[in-house]
């Protein structure tokens, strides 16, 4: 790792779930996340982590700016409005949504990538606690 470039490799945000008021050792899932370490919060653990995390965002930015240059301002605005509308079509929070209309808008219905083969959220073995998740979403919690 290039020591001079460390600043450019900082993650965008430190996950707040690790800093809970009930103590530094509670709520830390040792089996899944390993030992807690400040370095893991600050630096990416793989060279591609940041680029993959922001890949969809960067692709969208690039495509929208190209579209704006070719077809004018309204074209990306209209597309982004459609994206926002499609993103709101979701099932209950503890169930996985198919995001069919969003996939069609993005063109993902005609491609197969690693996200379709590996770690498919519809085949996840775990589910969140339904009552708590719905109450949180409705603001009752």
């Amino acid at each position: 790792m290039n020591a001079r470039g460390l600043g450019s490799q900082l993650k965008d945000s430190i996950p707040v779930t690790e800093l809970s008021a009930s103590g530094p050792f509670d709520h830390h899932d040792l089996l899944r996340k390993g030992f807690s370490c400040v370095k893991n919060e600050l630096l990416p653990s793989h060279a591609l982590e940041l680029s993959e995390k922001n890949f969809q965002l960067n692709q969208d930015k690039m495509n929208f700016s190209t579209l704006r240059n070719i077809q004018g301002l309204f074209a990306p605005l209209k597309l982004q409005m459609e994206f926002k509308a499609a993103q709101q079509v979701q099932r209950l929070p503890f169930l996985s949504s198919s995001n069919l209309s969003l996939d069609i808008l993005r063109g993902n219905d005609e491609t197969i990538g690693f996200e379709d083969i590996l770690n498919d959220p519809s085949q996840s073995e775990l589910m969140g606690e339904p009552h708590l998740m719905v109450e949180y979403k409705l603001g009752l919690l």
């Binding site: 060279a47 591609l48 890949f55 005609e110 990538g113 690693f114």
Partner: protein
């Protein structure tokens, strides 16, 4: 790691070797070197994407399309997907051959070899390749080049398969040649039971006590 060779420009057709069956029936094929799992998954995903692309455009896919899809994926992962691939095929623009490298670069050449055995195979190819060879001459040259890779490189081994691609389709020729005979064992190494004599035998029973017994009834409604 499998050694494999690249198509030669035979008029209207291409010949190259392949480690496994062709992933699709199209007039193009793809074989790979590098990390074997990476190459395998990459070619299978590319095959699926090409099938979907052909269904949505309603046209026969082109070799350049396959190459571009693979290149974009390999570049996205900056070489961490360690797959070197050769894509060859026949499409309306003619027979083509592209070699892809793990970081996403490609080159279009009349003949190509990749993988750990590439130096040996390329040496044979560069020496004896002629443009517009006949199919038999091309197959003979291919077998020689791969055999050079098998015999000269530790990471390459096994037999030579070839895939002949014409405008009509791809035909896989399995095990065209197997350059190395399996080694014959010098003696008989199986031992009959009872060969080793039992001198003494001692049996020590383990005494176990039941310390605690708990019964938990299951709540069935």
């Amino acid at each position: 790691m499998h050694p494999w060779n690249a198509p030669f420009r035979v008029p209207g057709s291409l010949v190259h070797t392949r480690p496994g069956p062709p992933s699709q029936d199209w007039c193009s094929d793809c074989c790979g070197a590098g990390v074997a799992a990476d190459a395998e998954m990459t070619t299978r995903m590319a095959a699926s994407n090409m099938e979907l692309h052909a269904l949505s455009t309603g046209r026969e896919p082109r070799v350049a399309t396959v190459t571009r899809i693979l290149r974009q994926m390999l570049f996205r992962y900056q070489g961490h997907v360690a797959a070197s691939l050769i894509v060859g095929g026949v499409d309306p623009t003619g027979p083509q051959l592209y070699g892809l490298h793990p970081h996403g670069s490609y080159s279009r050449l009349p003949f190509m070899a990749q993988g750990s055995g590439q130096d040996a195979a390329l040496a044979v190819l560069e020496d004896r390749f002629q443009p517009n060879m006949t199919l038999e001459a091309a197959q003979g040259l291919l077998v020689e080049a791969i055999t050079a890779g098998i015999l000269g490189d530790l990471g390459s081994g096994g037999s030579v398969d070839a895939c002949v691609i014409t405008a009509m389709g791809a035909k896989l020729l399995r095990t065209l040649s197997s350059p190395i005979e399996p080694m014959k064992r010098l003696g008989h190494y199986r031992v009959a039971p009872g060969t080793t004599a039992v001198l003494t035998q001692t049996v020590q029973p383990l005494k176990l006590e039941l310390l605690e017994e708990t019964v938990q009834a299951m709540d069935v409604e």
